[in-house]
Protein backbone atom coordinates (compact mmCIF):
# COMPACT_ATOMS: atom_id res chain seq x y z
CA UNK A 1 0.00 0.00 0.00
CA UNK A 2 1.18 3.47 -0.77
CA UNK A 3 2.51 5.40 2.18
CA UNK A 4 1.55 8.76 0.78
CA UNK A 5 -1.68 9.26 2.82
CA UNK A 6 0.19 8.41 6.02
CA UNK A 7 3.02 10.77 5.11
CA UNK A 8 0.58 13.59 4.45
CA UNK A 9 -1.50 12.99 7.57
CA UNK A 10 1.59 12.87 9.79
CA UNK A 11 2.91 15.99 8.11
CA UNK A 12 -0.30 17.89 8.91
CA UNK A 13 -0.13 16.92 12.57
CA UNK A 14 3.56 17.69 12.88
CA UNK A 15 3.23 20.97 11.00
CA UNK A 16 0.36 22.10 13.26
CA UNK A 17 2.44 21.43 16.34
CA UNK A 18 5.44 23.23 14.88
CA UNK A 19 3.36 26.19 13.80
CA UNK A 20 1.98 26.91 17.26
CA UNK A 21 5.52 27.01 18.66
CA UNK A 22 7.27 28.73 15.77
CA UNK A 23 4.68 31.47 15.27
CA UNK A 24 5.35 32.77 18.78
CA UNK A 25 9.08 32.75 18.11
CA UNK A 26 8.74 34.59 14.83
CA UNK A 27 6.29 37.11 16.31
CA UNK A 28 8.76 38.02 19.04
CA UNK A 29 11.59 38.29 16.52
CA UNK A 30 9.52 40.38 14.13
CA UNK A 31 8.54 42.92 16.73
CA UNK A 32 11.45 42.90 19.16
CA UNK A 33 14.31 41.57 17.00
CA UNK A 34 15.08 39.00 19.67
CA UNK A 35 15.72 35.43 18.59
CA UNK A 36 14.47 33.93 21.80
CA UNK A 37 16.29 30.71 22.75
CA UNK A 38 14.32 30.69 26.03
CA UNK A 39 11.24 30.02 23.89
CA UNK A 40 12.19 26.35 24.24
CA UNK A 41 12.14 26.64 28.02
CA UNK A 42 8.73 28.32 27.95
CA UNK A 43 7.52 25.40 25.86
CA UNK A 44 8.89 22.99 28.47
CA UNK A 45 7.36 25.08 31.28
CA UNK A 46 4.00 24.82 29.55
CA UNK A 47 4.34 21.05 29.27
CA UNK A 48 5.33 20.59 32.91
CA UNK A 49 2.58 22.89 34.17
CA UNK A 50 0.08 21.00 32.04
CA UNK A 51 1.14 17.68 33.54
CA UNK A 52 0.81 19.09 37.05
CA UNK A 53 -2.54 20.78 36.52
CA UNK A 54 -4.22 18.14 34.36
CA UNK A 55 -2.73 15.35 36.49
CA UNK A 56 -3.93 17.03 39.68
CA UNK A 57 -7.38 17.56 38.21
CA UNK A 58 -7.71 13.92 37.22
CA UNK A 59 -6.27 12.68 40.51
CA UNK A 60 -9.01 14.56 42.35
CA UNK A 61 -11.54 12.58 40.33
CA UNK A 62 -13.16 15.56 38.59
CA UNK A 63 -14.75 15.19 35.17
CA UNK A 64 -12.04 13.95 32.76
CA UNK A 65 -13.11 16.42 30.07
CA UNK A 66 -12.06 19.23 32.39
CA UNK A 67 -8.45 18.18 31.89
CA UNK A 68 -8.52 19.97 28.53
CA UNK A 69 -9.38 23.18 30.31
CA UNK A 70 -6.43 22.48 32.58
CA UNK A 71 -4.09 22.23 29.57
CA UNK A 72 -5.27 25.62 28.36
CA UNK A 73 -5.05 27.06 31.88
CA UNK A 74 -1.46 25.84 32.19
CA UNK A 75 -0.51 27.66 28.99
CA UNK A 76 -2.30 30.82 30.12
CA UNK A 77 -0.61 30.78 33.51
CA UNK A 78 2.87 30.34 32.06
CA UNK A 79 2.22 32.99 29.42
CA UNK A 80 0.80 35.51 31.87
CA UNK A 81 3.41 34.98 34.57
CA UNK A 82 6.68 34.02 32.89
CA UNK A 83 6.18 36.34 29.89
CA UNK A 84 5.73 39.59 31.83
CA UNK A 85 8.36 38.65 34.42
CA UNK A 86 11.00 38.02 31.74
CA UNK A 87 10.11 41.06 29.63
CA UNK A 88 9.69 43.58 32.45
CA UNK A 89 12.32 42.11 34.74
CA UNK A 90 15.13 41.54 32.26
CA UNK A 91 14.71 42.12 28.55
CA UNK A 92 13.47 45.72 28.67
CA UNK A 93 16.79 46.84 30.13
CA UNK A 94 18.71 45.32 27.26
CA UNK A 95 16.85 46.43 24.11
CA UNK A 96 19.71 48.74 23.18
CA UNK A 97 22.10 45.77 22.85
CA UNK A 98 23.14 44.14 19.62
CA UNK A 99 20.83 41.51 18.12
CA UNK A 100 23.42 38.79 18.63
CA UNK A 101 24.06 39.81 22.25
CA UNK A 102 20.32 39.50 22.85
CA UNK A 103 20.47 35.92 21.57
CA UNK A 104 23.07 35.27 24.27
CA UNK A 105 20.86 36.91 26.88
CA UNK A 106 18.07 34.51 26.02
CA UNK A 107 20.58 31.65 26.04
CA UNK A 108 21.51 32.60 29.61
CA UNK A 109 17.80 32.72 30.38
CA UNK A 110 17.41 29.29 28.83
CA UNK A 111 20.09 27.89 31.16
CA UNK A 112 18.43 29.48 34.17
CA UNK A 113 14.95 28.22 33.27
CA UNK A 114 16.22 24.70 32.55
CA UNK A 115 17.47 24.44 36.12
CA UNK A 116 14.38 26.15 37.51
CA UNK A 117 12.33 23.42 35.84
CA UNK A 118 14.56 20.70 37.28
CA UNK A 119 14.30 22.23 40.74
CA UNK A 120 10.52 22.43 40.56
CA UNK A 121 9.64 19.16 38.88
CA UNK A 122 12.70 16.98 39.36
CA UNK A 123 14.47 15.03 36.66
CA UNK A 124 12.15 12.02 36.30
CA UNK A 125 9.94 11.81 33.20
CA UNK A 126 6.30 12.79 33.80
CA UNK A 127 3.13 11.68 32.06
CA UNK A 128 -0.48 12.67 31.73
CA UNK A 129 -1.83 10.42 28.99
CA UNK A 130 -5.57 10.60 29.79
CA UNK A 131 -6.43 13.64 27.66
CA UNK A 132 -4.78 11.86 24.75
CA UNK A 133 -6.72 8.61 25.08
CA UNK A 134 -10.01 10.14 26.20
CA UNK A 135 -11.31 11.21 22.81
CA UNK A 136 -10.80 7.81 21.20
CA UNK A 137 -9.66 7.27 17.63
CA UNK A 138 -10.92 8.11 14.19
CA UNK A 139 -10.19 6.72 10.75
CA UNK A 140 -9.08 8.61 7.70
CA UNK A 141 -8.09 7.00 4.39
CA UNK A 142 -7.76 3.65 6.10
CA UNK A 143 -5.49 4.99 8.84
CA UNK A 144 -6.38 5.19 12.50
CA UNK A 145 -5.46 8.36 14.35
CA UNK A 146 -6.12 9.44 17.93
CA UNK A 147 -8.84 12.09 17.85
CA UNK A 148 -6.59 14.22 20.05
CA UNK A 149 -4.42 15.04 17.03
CA UNK A 150 -7.42 16.98 15.70
CA UNK A 151 -7.17 19.18 18.79
CA UNK A 152 -3.60 20.04 17.79
CA UNK A 153 -4.58 20.80 14.21
CA UNK A 154 -7.55 22.88 15.37
CA UNK A 155 -5.34 24.79 17.80
CA UNK A 156 -2.90 25.64 15.01
CA UNK A 157 -5.71 26.85 12.75
CA UNK A 158 -7.30 28.93 15.51
CA UNK A 159 -3.94 30.47 16.49
CA UNK A 160 -3.10 31.23 12.86
CA UNK A 161 -6.49 32.81 12.10
CA UNK A 162 -6.54 34.76 15.35
CA UNK A 163 -3.13 36.28 14.69
CA UNK A 164 -4.00 37.02 11.08
CA UNK A 165 -7.18 38.78 12.14
CA UNK A 166 -5.58 40.61 15.05
CA UNK A 167 -2.68 41.92 12.98
CA UNK A 168 -4.58 42.78 9.84
CA UNK A 169 -7.94 44.01 11.10
CA UNK A 170 -7.56 45.57 14.51
CA UNK A 171 -6.16 48.91 15.56
CA UNK A 172 -3.56 47.49 17.92
CA UNK A 173 -2.55 44.90 15.35
CA UNK A 174 -1.88 47.61 12.80
CA UNK A 175 0.16 49.52 15.34
CA UNK A 176 2.14 46.36 15.92
CA UNK A 177 2.84 46.08 12.20
CA UNK A 178 3.97 49.68 12.24
CA UNK A 179 6.42 48.89 15.04
CA UNK A 180 7.73 45.91 13.05
CA UNK A 181 8.24 48.14 10.04
CA UNK A 182 9.93 51.05 11.79
CA UNK A 183 10.24 51.21 15.53
CA UNK A 184 11.52 54.75 15.84
CA UNK A 185 9.01 56.26 13.45
CA UNK A 186 6.16 54.50 15.25
CA UNK A 187 7.36 55.84 18.57
CA UNK A 188 7.52 59.31 17.04
CA UNK A 189 3.91 58.92 15.86
CA UNK A 190 2.80 58.15 19.39
CA UNK A 191 2.73 54.35 19.44
CA UNK A 192 3.63 53.06 22.87
CA UNK A 193 6.49 50.82 21.76
CA UNK A 194 7.24 49.58 25.29
CA UNK A 195 3.67 48.37 25.68
CA UNK A 196 3.81 46.71 22.27
CA UNK A 197 6.93 44.80 23.31
CA UNK A 198 5.33 43.78 26.58
CA UNK A 199 2.18 42.46 24.91
CA UNK A 200 4.10 40.74 22.11
CA UNK A 201 6.41 38.91 24.46
CA UNK A 202 3.51 37.79 26.64
CA UNK A 203 1.59 36.46 23.65
CA UNK A 204 4.74 34.76 22.37
CA UNK A 205 5.36 33.15 25.75
CA UNK A 206 1.74 32.00 25.86
CA UNK A 207 2.05 30.39 22.42
CA UNK A 208 5.23 28.56 23.43
CA UNK A 209 3.52 27.32 26.59
CA UNK A 210 0.42 26.37 24.61
CA UNK A 211 2.57 24.26 22.31
CA UNK A 212 4.07 22.55 25.33
CA UNK A 213 0.74 22.07 27.13
CA UNK A 214 -0.91 20.52 24.08
CA UNK A 215 2.07 18.24 23.49
CA UNK A 216 2.32 17.11 27.11
CA UNK A 217 -0.36 14.37 26.86
CA UNK A 218 1.26 12.87 23.76
CA UNK A 219 4.78 12.41 25.10
CA UNK A 220 6.70 11.79 28.29
CA UNK A 221 7.69 15.18 29.61
CA UNK A 222 11.46 15.10 30.20
CA UNK A 223 14.30 17.50 30.85
CA UNK A 224 16.00 18.63 27.68
CA UNK A 225 12.76 18.80 25.68
CA UNK A 226 13.19 22.57 25.42
CA UNK A 227 16.64 22.26 23.85
CA UNK A 228 15.29 19.87 21.27
CA UNK A 229 12.27 21.88 20.26
CA UNK A 230 13.94 25.27 20.01
CA UNK A 231 16.40 24.26 17.35
CA UNK A 232 13.61 22.74 15.23
CA UNK A 233 11.61 25.94 15.73
CA UNK A 234 14.65 27.89 14.52
CA UNK A 235 14.68 25.78 11.38
CA UNK A 236 10.98 26.55 10.81
CA UNK A 237 11.25 30.32 11.23
CA UNK A 238 14.48 30.58 9.27
CA UNK A 239 12.99 28.64 6.35
CA UNK A 240 9.91 30.84 6.28
CA UNK A 241 11.76 34.06 6.96
CA UNK A 242 12.44 35.47 10.42
CA UNK A 243 9.60 37.65 11.63
CA UNK A 244 7.04 36.56 9.04
CA UNK A 245 3.81 34.90 10.22
CA UNK A 246 3.04 33.47 6.79
CA UNK A 247 6.63 32.29 6.73
CA UNK A 248 6.16 30.43 10.00
CA UNK A 249 3.18 28.62 8.49
CA UNK A 250 5.05 27.78 5.29
CA UNK A 251 8.14 26.73 7.26
CA UNK A 252 6.03 24.50 9.50
CA UNK A 253 4.44 22.81 6.49
CA UNK A 254 7.82 22.29 4.79
CA UNK A 255 9.53 20.92 7.89
CA UNK A 256 6.43 18.82 8.66
CA UNK A 257 6.46 17.28 5.18
CA UNK A 258 10.21 16.72 5.11
CA UNK A 259 10.27 15.06 8.49
CA UNK A 260 7.21 12.96 7.86
CA UNK A 261 8.58 11.77 4.50
CA UNK A 262 11.94 11.01 6.09
CA UNK A 263 10.33 9.06 8.93
CA UNK A 264 8.34 6.93 6.50
CA UNK A 265 10.96 6.34 3.82
CA UNK A 266 14.42 6.88 5.37
CA UNK A 267 14.12 7.08 9.18
CA UNK A 268 17.86 7.58 9.66
CA UNK A 269 17.66 10.86 7.73
CA UNK A 270 14.98 12.42 9.97
CA UNK A 271 17.04 15.12 11.72
CA UNK A 272 19.55 15.46 8.93
CA UNK A 273 16.88 16.28 6.35
CA UNK A 274 15.31 19.08 8.40
CA UNK A 275 18.60 20.93 8.81
CA UNK A 276 19.62 20.21 5.26
CA UNK A 277 16.50 22.04 4.11
CA UNK A 278 17.26 24.85 6.58
CA UNK A 279 20.79 25.23 5.21
CA UNK A 280 19.59 25.02 1.61
CA UNK A 281 17.01 27.77 2.14
CA UNK A 282 19.55 29.98 3.91
CA UNK A 283 21.96 29.49 1.03
CA UNK A 284 19.41 30.16 -1.70
CA UNK A 285 17.36 32.85 0.07
CA UNK A 286 19.20 34.03 3.19
CA UNK A 287 16.23 35.99 4.50
CA UNK A 288 13.84 33.07 4.13
CA UNK A 289 11.20 32.20 1.57
CA UNK A 290 8.76 34.90 2.62
CA UNK A 291 11.08 37.89 2.53
CA UNK A 292 10.70 40.90 0.33
CA UNK A 293 13.38 43.28 -0.87
CA UNK A 294 14.97 45.34 1.86
CA UNK A 295 16.33 48.86 1.74
CA UNK A 296 20.04 48.83 2.32
CA UNK A 297 21.08 50.97 5.22
CA UNK A 298 24.71 51.97 5.59
Amino acid sequence: MSQIPAVLADAVVYASWLFVIAVGLTLIYGVMKILNIAHGSLYALGAYSAVTLAGGWLAKGYAPLGSYAMLALAALLVGLIAGPVIERGLLRFLYAKDEIVLVLVTYALFLILEDAIKLTWGVDPMFVAEPYALLGNFEIAGLTYPTYTLVLVAAAIVVGLALWWALGFTRSGKMLLAVIHDREMSAAMGVNVGLTYFVTFTIGAFLAALGGALTAPTISVVTGMGAEVIVTAFAVVVIGGLGSLGGAALGAVIVGLVRSAAVHYQPELELFSIYLVMAAVLIARPKGLFSGAEVRKI
Partner: protein
Protein backbone atom coordinates in the same frame (compact mmCIF):
# COMPACT_ATOMS: atom_id res chain seq x y z
CA UNK B 1 61.83 42.26 14.61
CA UNK B 2 61.92 42.04 18.35
CA UNK B 3 60.03 39.26 20.07
CA UNK B 4 56.63 40.42 21.20
CA UNK B 5 55.74 40.58 24.89
CA UNK B 6 52.75 38.30 24.49
CA UNK B 7 54.91 35.60 22.91
CA UNK B 8 57.39 35.75 25.79
CA UNK B 9 54.58 35.56 28.32
CA UNK B 10 53.00 32.61 26.48
CA UNK B 11 56.24 30.64 26.37
CA UNK B 12 56.89 31.42 30.04
CA UNK B 13 53.37 30.35 31.04
CA UNK B 14 53.62 27.12 29.04
CA UNK B 15 57.05 26.40 30.55
CA UNK B 16 55.73 26.96 34.07
CA UNK B 17 52.74 24.68 33.45
CA UNK B 18 54.98 21.95 32.03
CA UNK B 19 57.33 22.18 35.01
CA UNK B 20 54.36 21.96 37.40
CA UNK B 21 52.88 18.96 35.58
CA UNK B 22 54.55 16.18 37.61
CA UNK B 23 53.80 17.78 41.00
CA UNK B 24 50.26 19.15 40.81
CA UNK B 25 47.35 16.91 41.90
CA UNK B 26 45.12 15.04 39.50
CA UNK B 27 42.21 17.44 39.66
CA UNK B 28 44.48 20.33 38.68
CA UNK B 29 45.83 18.37 35.71
CA UNK B 30 42.30 17.67 34.63
CA UNK B 31 41.28 21.31 35.06
CA UNK B 32 44.22 22.50 32.95
CA UNK B 33 43.51 19.88 30.28
CA UNK B 34 39.84 20.77 29.94
CA UNK B 35 40.40 24.53 30.19
CA UNK B 36 43.11 24.57 27.54
CA UNK B 37 41.36 22.08 25.27
CA UNK B 38 38.21 24.22 25.32
CA UNK B 39 40.41 27.33 25.41
CA UNK B 40 41.82 26.50 21.98
CA UNK B 41 38.26 26.37 20.60
CA UNK B 42 37.53 29.71 22.24
CA UNK B 43 40.65 31.16 20.61
CA UNK B 44 38.79 30.39 17.40
CA UNK B 45 35.68 32.16 18.70
CA UNK B 46 37.88 35.16 19.42
CA UNK B 47 39.05 35.40 15.80
CA UNK B 48 35.42 35.35 14.66
CA UNK B 49 34.30 37.83 17.29
CA UNK B 50 37.05 40.23 16.26
CA UNK B 51 35.68 39.95 12.74
CA UNK B 52 32.25 40.81 14.17
CA UNK B 53 30.83 37.31 13.74
CA UNK B 54 29.22 34.94 16.23
CA UNK B 55 28.79 31.32 15.25
CA UNK B 56 26.12 29.20 16.91
CA UNK B 57 27.52 26.14 15.21
CA UNK B 58 31.20 25.90 16.01
CA UNK B 59 30.46 22.61 17.71
CA UNK B 60 30.58 21.34 14.13
CA UNK B 61 34.38 21.66 13.97
CA UNK B 62 34.88 20.73 17.59
CA UNK B 63 33.00 17.50 16.92
CA UNK B 64 34.64 16.93 13.53
CA UNK B 65 38.07 17.32 15.10
CA UNK B 66 37.19 14.87 17.86
CA UNK B 67 35.74 12.28 15.45
CA UNK B 68 38.68 12.65 13.10
CA UNK B 69 41.03 12.06 16.03
CA UNK B 70 38.91 9.13 17.19
CA UNK B 71 38.83 7.56 13.72
CA UNK B 72 42.56 8.17 13.27
CA UNK B 73 43.28 6.19 16.42
CA UNK B 74 40.59 3.51 16.20
CA UNK B 75 40.18 2.90 12.48
CA UNK B 76 43.27 4.11 10.69
CA UNK B 77 45.77 2.66 13.14
CA UNK B 78 47.25 5.96 14.27
CA UNK B 79 46.67 6.04 18.04
CA UNK B 80 49.39 8.67 18.30
CA UNK B 81 48.40 11.94 19.98
CA UNK B 82 50.18 14.12 17.44
CA UNK B 83 48.61 12.25 14.53
CA UNK B 84 45.20 12.62 16.18
CA UNK B 85 45.60 16.37 16.64
CA UNK B 86 46.81 16.70 13.06
CA UNK B 87 43.83 14.65 11.89
CA UNK B 88 41.43 16.90 13.79
CA UNK B 89 43.00 20.03 12.33
CA UNK B 90 42.96 18.62 8.81
CA UNK B 91 39.30 17.56 8.94
CA UNK B 92 38.26 21.00 10.19
CA UNK B 93 40.45 22.68 7.56
CA UNK B 94 38.94 20.75 4.65
CA UNK B 95 35.31 21.20 5.70
CA UNK B 96 35.65 24.85 6.71
CA UNK B 97 37.48 25.81 3.52
CA UNK B 98 34.39 24.67 1.59
CA UNK B 99 31.64 25.86 3.95
CA UNK B 100 33.55 29.11 4.46
CA UNK B 101 32.97 29.99 0.81
CA UNK B 102 29.27 30.18 1.65
CA UNK B 103 29.45 31.52 5.16
CA UNK B 104 31.91 34.33 4.42
CA UNK B 105 29.03 36.20 2.75
CA UNK B 106 26.79 36.00 5.81
CA UNK B 107 26.64 38.34 8.78
CA UNK B 108 24.97 38.62 12.15
CA UNK B 109 21.98 36.43 12.82
CA UNK B 110 22.14 34.79 9.39
CA UNK B 111 25.73 33.74 9.93
CA UNK B 112 24.76 32.35 13.33
CA UNK B 113 21.78 30.45 11.87
CA UNK B 114 23.57 28.98 8.86
CA UNK B 115 26.41 27.77 11.09
CA UNK B 116 23.80 26.31 13.40
CA UNK B 117 22.17 24.49 10.48
CA UNK B 118 25.49 22.98 9.39
CA UNK B 119 26.33 21.80 12.89
CA UNK B 120 22.88 20.25 13.28
CA UNK B 121 23.31 18.44 9.95
CA UNK B 122 26.37 16.73 11.37
CA UNK B 123 24.44 16.01 14.56
CA UNK B 124 21.60 14.46 12.55
CA UNK B 125 24.09 12.29 10.67
CA UNK B 126 26.04 11.15 13.72
CA UNK B 127 23.09 10.19 15.93
CA UNK B 128 21.89 7.85 13.20
CA UNK B 129 25.18 6.28 12.17
CA UNK B 130 25.26 3.02 14.07
CA UNK B 131 28.75 2.42 12.70
CA UNK B 132 30.04 5.35 14.78
CA UNK B 133 28.10 4.42 17.90
CA UNK B 134 25.04 6.66 17.25
CA UNK B 135 24.16 8.77 20.29
CA UNK B 136 26.64 6.86 22.48
CA UNK B 137 29.70 7.73 20.43
CA UNK B 138 32.78 5.63 21.07
CA UNK B 139 35.89 5.38 23.20
CA UNK B 140 39.22 6.71 22.02
CA UNK B 141 42.60 5.52 23.21
CA UNK B 142 45.70 7.51 22.47
CA UNK B 143 48.64 5.16 22.95
CA UNK B 144 51.74 7.10 21.97
CA UNK B 145 53.30 10.52 21.43
CA UNK B 146 55.35 10.96 18.26
CA UNK B 147 55.95 7.23 18.18
CA UNK B 148 56.90 6.80 21.84
CA UNK B 149 54.43 4.55 23.63
CA UNK B 150 53.09 5.97 26.90
CA UNK B 151 51.25 4.20 29.72
CA UNK B 152 50.06 4.86 33.27
CA UNK B 153 51.60 7.97 34.80
CA UNK B 154 53.58 8.72 31.67
CA UNK B 155 50.30 8.70 29.74
CA UNK B 156 48.72 11.15 32.15
CA UNK B 157 51.70 13.47 31.97
CA UNK B 158 51.95 12.97 28.21
CA UNK B 159 48.34 14.04 27.61
CA UNK B 160 48.90 17.06 29.84
CA UNK B 161 52.09 18.07 28.04
CA UNK B 162 50.60 17.61 24.58
CA UNK B 163 47.62 19.78 25.54
CA UNK B 164 49.74 22.51 27.15
CA UNK B 165 52.21 22.65 24.25
CA UNK B 166 49.51 22.52 21.56
CA UNK B 167 47.48 25.26 23.24
CA UNK B 168 50.55 27.46 23.65
CA UNK B 169 51.56 26.90 20.00
CA UNK B 170 48.04 27.74 18.79
CA UNK B 171 48.03 30.91 20.87
CA UNK B 172 51.51 31.92 19.64
CA UNK B 173 50.63 31.43 15.99
CA UNK B 174 47.29 33.15 16.37
CA UNK B 175 48.88 36.08 18.14
CA UNK B 176 51.39 36.48 15.31
CA UNK B 177 48.56 36.34 12.77
CA UNK B 178 46.42 38.87 14.62
CA UNK B 179 49.35 41.30 14.69
CA UNK B 180 49.99 40.83 10.97
CA UNK B 181 48.57 43.10 8.30
CA UNK B 182 45.68 40.79 7.42
CA UNK B 183 45.04 39.91 11.03
CA UNK B 184 44.46 43.55 11.87
CA UNK B 185 41.84 43.81 9.14
CA UNK B 186 39.44 41.74 11.26
CA UNK B 187 38.48 44.61 13.54
CA UNK B 188 38.33 47.01 10.63
CA UNK B 189 35.80 44.70 8.98
CA UNK B 190 33.78 44.56 12.17
CA UNK B 191 33.68 48.34 12.34
CA UNK B 192 33.00 49.12 8.69
CA UNK B 193 33.22 46.65 5.83
CA UNK B 194 32.60 49.18 3.14
CA UNK B 195 35.62 51.25 4.12
CA UNK B 196 37.81 48.17 4.09
CA UNK B 197 36.68 47.44 0.55
CA UNK B 198 37.26 51.04 -0.52
CA UNK B 199 40.79 50.83 0.79
CA UNK B 200 41.44 47.89 -1.48
CA UNK B 201 41.40 44.93 0.91
CA UNK B 202 39.19 41.92 0.25
CA UNK B 203 36.58 41.53 2.97
CA UNK B 204 35.51 38.15 1.61
CA UNK B 205 39.04 36.69 1.60
CA UNK B 206 39.72 37.94 5.13
CA UNK B 207 36.45 36.66 6.56
CA UNK B 208 36.99 33.33 4.80
CA UNK B 209 40.52 33.01 6.17
CA UNK B 210 39.43 33.95 9.69
CA UNK B 211 36.60 31.44 9.49
CA UNK B 212 38.97 28.67 8.45
CA UNK B 213 41.44 29.61 11.20
CA UNK B 214 38.70 29.54 13.82
CA UNK B 215 37.48 26.19 12.50
CA UNK B 216 40.95 24.63 12.60
CA UNK B 217 41.38 25.83 16.18
CA UNK B 218 38.02 24.26 17.07
CA UNK B 219 39.11 21.03 15.35
CA UNK B 220 42.37 20.98 17.31
CA UNK B 221 40.44 21.66 20.53
CA UNK B 222 38.06 18.79 19.72
CA UNK B 223 40.97 16.42 19.12
CA UNK B 224 42.61 17.48 22.39
CA UNK B 225 39.38 16.90 24.29
CA UNK B 226 38.97 13.48 22.64
CA UNK B 227 42.47 12.59 23.87
CA UNK B 228 41.81 13.95 27.36
CA UNK B 229 38.34 12.47 27.92
CA UNK B 230 38.90 9.29 25.95
CA UNK B 231 35.33 9.35 24.71
CA UNK B 232 33.45 11.25 22.01
CA UNK B 233 29.76 11.55 21.17
CA UNK B 234 27.44 13.62 18.94
CA UNK B 235 26.58 16.00 21.80
CA UNK B 236 29.82 17.74 20.80
CA UNK B 237 28.02 19.24 17.81
CA UNK B 238 24.63 19.75 19.50
CA UNK B 239 23.72 23.44 19.73
CA UNK B 240 24.13 23.95 23.53
CA UNK B 241 27.81 23.00 23.12
CA UNK B 242 28.24 25.69 20.47
CA UNK B 243 26.38 28.08 22.73
CA UNK B 244 28.85 27.32 25.48
CA UNK B 245 31.78 28.31 23.24
CA UNK B 246 30.11 31.63 22.48
CA UNK B 247 29.42 32.03 26.18
CA UNK B 248 33.10 31.56 27.11
CA UNK B 249 34.12 33.86 24.26
CA UNK B 250 31.89 36.64 25.61
CA UNK B 251 33.06 35.94 29.14
CA UNK B 252 36.71 36.14 28.08
CA UNK B 253 36.73 39.16 25.84
CA UNK B 254 38.86 39.53 22.74
CA UNK B 255 41.63 41.82 23.92
CA UNK B 256 44.47 39.28 23.83
CA UNK B 257 45.11 35.62 23.02
CA UNK B 258 45.45 35.16 26.76
CA UNK B 259 41.82 36.15 27.26
CA UNK B 260 40.20 32.97 25.84
CA UNK B 261 42.63 30.69 27.66
CA UNK B 262 42.19 32.44 31.01
CA UNK B 263 38.45 32.89 30.45
CA UNK B 264 38.21 29.19 29.82
CA UNK B 265 40.02 28.44 33.09
CA UNK B 266 37.60 30.74 34.93
CA UNK B 267 34.63 29.12 33.22
CA UNK B 268 35.74 25.57 34.00
CA UNK B 269 36.51 26.50 37.59
CA UNK B 270 33.10 28.12 38.07
CA UNK B 271 31.44 25.17 36.40
CA UNK B 272 33.17 22.46 38.43
CA UNK B 273 32.69 24.45 41.63
CA UNK B 274 29.01 25.10 40.91
CA UNK B 275 28.54 21.50 39.82
CA UNK B 276 30.02 20.20 43.04
CA UNK B 277 28.28 22.63 45.40
CA UNK B 278 24.86 22.47 43.80
CA UNK B 279 24.52 19.87 41.06
CA UNK B 280 20.91 20.95 40.41
CA UNK B 281 21.59 24.61 39.82
CA UNK B 282 24.96 24.82 38.10
CA UNK B 283 23.39 25.85 34.79
CA UNK B 284 21.54 28.55 36.68
CA UNK B 285 24.82 29.81 38.12
CA UNK B 286 26.31 29.90 34.63
CA UNK B 287 23.26 31.69 33.23
CA UNK B 288 23.35 34.34 35.93
CA UNK B 289 27.12 34.78 35.49
CA UNK B 290 26.60 35.28 31.79
CA UNK B 291 23.87 37.87 32.29
CA UNK B 292 26.08 39.77 34.70
CA UNK B 293 28.99 39.76 32.26
CA UNK B 294 26.76 40.99 29.43
CA UNK B 295 25.31 43.77 31.56
CA UNK B 296 28.29 44.91 33.62
CA UNK B 297 31.32 43.79 31.64
CA UNK B 298 30.45 43.87 27.94
CA UNK B 299 34.15 43.68 27.03
CA UNK B 300 34.60 40.42 28.94
CA UNK B 301 36.98 39.61 31.76
CA UNK B 302 39.96 40.81 29.76
CA UNK B 303 38.57 44.34 29.69
CA UNK B 304 38.81 44.20 33.48
CA UNK B 305 42.53 43.50 33.16
CA UNK B 306 43.12 46.41 30.78
CA UNK B 307 40.99 48.66 32.96
CA UNK B 308 43.17 47.79 35.95
CA UNK B 309 46.25 48.69 33.95
CA UNK B 310 44.60 52.01 33.18
CA UNK B 311 44.42 51.45 29.43
CA UNK B 312 41.40 51.69 27.17
CA UNK B 313 40.21 48.41 25.69
CA UNK B 314 42.18 47.67 22.59
CA UNK B 315 39.47 45.37 21.32
CA UNK B 316 35.94 45.24 22.57
CA UNK B 317 33.44 42.56 21.69
CA UNK B 318 30.78 43.58 19.24
CA UNK B 319 27.62 45.15 20.63
Amino acid sequence: MSVHRTSVALVAAAGALLALGPVIPNWAVSLVNVSLGIGVVVLGMMVLMRTGLVSFGHGLYYCLGAYAAGLASNRFGAPDMLAMVAGGALAALLVSAVLGLLLAKYREIFFAMLSLAFSMILYGLLVKSADLGSTDGFNVHAKSIAGFAVEGDAHRLGVYSVIVITAALCALLLDAYLRSHRGRLAEAIRDNELRVEYMGASVFATVHLNYVISAVLAGVGGALMAIHIGHIDPEMTYWPQSGEFVFIGILSGTGSVFAPLLGSVVFETVRSYAYEKSPDTWQMVLGVTMLMVIVFLPGGLWSLASRLRGRPDSARTGG
